[in-house]
Symmetry: none
Subunit: 196 residues, 4 copies
């Protein structure tokens, strides 16, 4: 059986250096041309240290991207009482984030990796997607109680209706990503969700 490393002896300095190097290099050269060797060199770390703590290039990038959004964990969506206004706020913010190459490149890399690696995808859902989705559904539930959304709406499907078009447009670059687009999307999707 393979020997397991002892996490209590892990060098925090090395961990940080690797994640920082990964983030920088993804932005600089793109995910496809990213190499473990380059990360190690940039981080001033032996390759073995990377292989000891991460099982693949994808796993490193995954962790690197997670540290970007650390602190967002306990995030709650705005709740002004107006679901439409609140959703527009959130969607416009998302659009803005995607416009920043410093965020865009690593997140695109993460998505590429998730597409090909179901195990990583599951981890992503567990650590990132599910908590965020839960927060979003909490806001929708609040809107249901306020009578702004149909009481019998399937909130998972509602979430997809609201967010999937934006995600797809970004991922496939199939159209402009603007604040106007965010607004139009929210307005249209809400039509489907309002009480009869």
């Amino acid at each position: 059986m393979a020997k397991q490393p002892d996490p209590s002896r892990r060098s925090e300095r090395s961990r940080q250096a690797v994640l920082a190097a990964a983030r920088e290099l993804v932005t600089e050269v793109g995910y496809a041309k990213l190499s473990i060797e380059a990360i190690a060199a940039r981080a001033g770390v032996g390759k073995q240290t990377i292989y000891r703590w991460w099982r693949s290039k994808g796993a490193v990038v995954f962790d690197a991207v997670l540290t970007l959004s650390e602190g967002d964990d306990g995030m709650a969506l705005p709740d002004t009482g107006d679901i439409e206004a609140d959703l527009k706020t959130v969607m416009r913010a998302t659009v803005a984030e995607f416009a920043d190459p410093g965020f865009e490149a690593p997140i695109r890399a993460l998505n590429t990796e998730i597409l090909q690696d179901p195990e990583l995808a599951a981890l992503y859902r567990e650590k990132v997607a599910d908590p965020v989705d839960e927060a979003k559904k909490a806001r929708l539930r609040s809107a249901q109680q306020a009578g702004q959304i149909a009481a019998d709406a399937d909130l998972d499907l509602a979430l997809e209706l609201l967010y999937a078009p934006l995600y797809q447009r970004w991922l496939l670059r199939s159209g402009p990503l603007t604040a106007d687009y965010a607004d139009a999307l929210v307005e249209l999707a809400l039509k489907a969700l309002r009480p009869a």
Copy 2:
């Protein structure tokens, strides 16, 4: 200046062999572990023959996947006069396709490549996405004329509302892809699109 190969002398036999090998190997080992060398070996073809006619691994897979859907080109969506029924038919068919690993693997590979390569993405939109979208929009327009969809609806956005949730669920494996799901999605999205 670089010499251009003469397409009239191209070996059709080699072309077919390469595309078939690419399709098989994508299914067998996945896109990430796919190598030009392996494709050449499997196809019984020199590496140079691949490099002569395709500019990258992505381009080969791109072509390989296109040949899968060849013949769908002039495809028109069913038009029974009932937009809801017709959309459900189409969406259920899409769900079924994604369940077949022989289709799923190459198409996923294609999406991975498109994510990282804007040039390939543009080609994909031009050759595949746009024609298909145009056919779908034609059906929606017909529904508008029949008064089943609001006359002022933005058809591009409508398309996204209908298809993006399905696409996202498949790509991220974020939920089950069933006929019921297709139906529910169509019903919900249409609520947003019907005349006021």
Copy 3:
């Protein structure tokens, strides 16, 4: 200045374990594939303990081999009064030693190391070769006094004439190493050494 370890606090148990492990591993995997790490693991010893007390892999093997021949130190050659018979006895014994893989492998390893490392070679001559040669020369001197060897013979050269052919044959595996060979060699070399 580098800190010197205090030999009085050295663990004899660790020292023995390291030397034993080195001897075993040289025999099992050969000198070239021998690693400090493997010696430490086999000996149940930290790597640092080895680096603290030996300056190189060669030095460990050197010590390991020395312990093999410990006790031979004050060795005197047999002196029956018949130089030819006595030399044959000694040479046949040497031949027999070389046939035992438990001796052969470490000694070959030692020779390999000595070839490349003049410092180790000097240490070897001082600790091992010179005392042994002195004992041999003592026996030759006794033969000179008995008139069996020319009074003006150069004993260093005489030693080489007697032993180098055997050594070379073993080292290069350039011919069979048998008791007969030992006898023939002694007889021939003695022809050169007898009084005129």
Copy 4:
């Protein structure tokens, strides 16, 4: 079964560059610190090109050293009619060669490798040692016919008596290697070989 490379397509330029680099590096850094990677870099050659044509570092050095002595193949020893004078000529030349670091380092490396690798040792005997020994024995035979060496002398043993002391002294650096030493060795060994 492993694929065999086709020697007819081998690049002579690469072969020469690798051997030259190996020779240079052995002299510069020594055999122990010699790395395939460094040879490849110095030769401006891919590592695979080395691994394709040689099975180990030792094999490269072996070939590199062989090219040093290429042309000596059909070498015949001098035959002036005086075996003592001729042997002294040859032995003094050998001593001189060993004094040249450009020869000494690679040849020492070769010997180190041969010690550890019986397969290489066999190849060495076949390609180098045996032909040379045959030439030497031819000269000894000629001396036998001239009555300068006993008719019943074992020429293999005679060769060892003459050359092994020199070889051992060089290999173990156990004494000075001078023209005087060569002369003394020849004189002493010949005493054992002359007719009774």
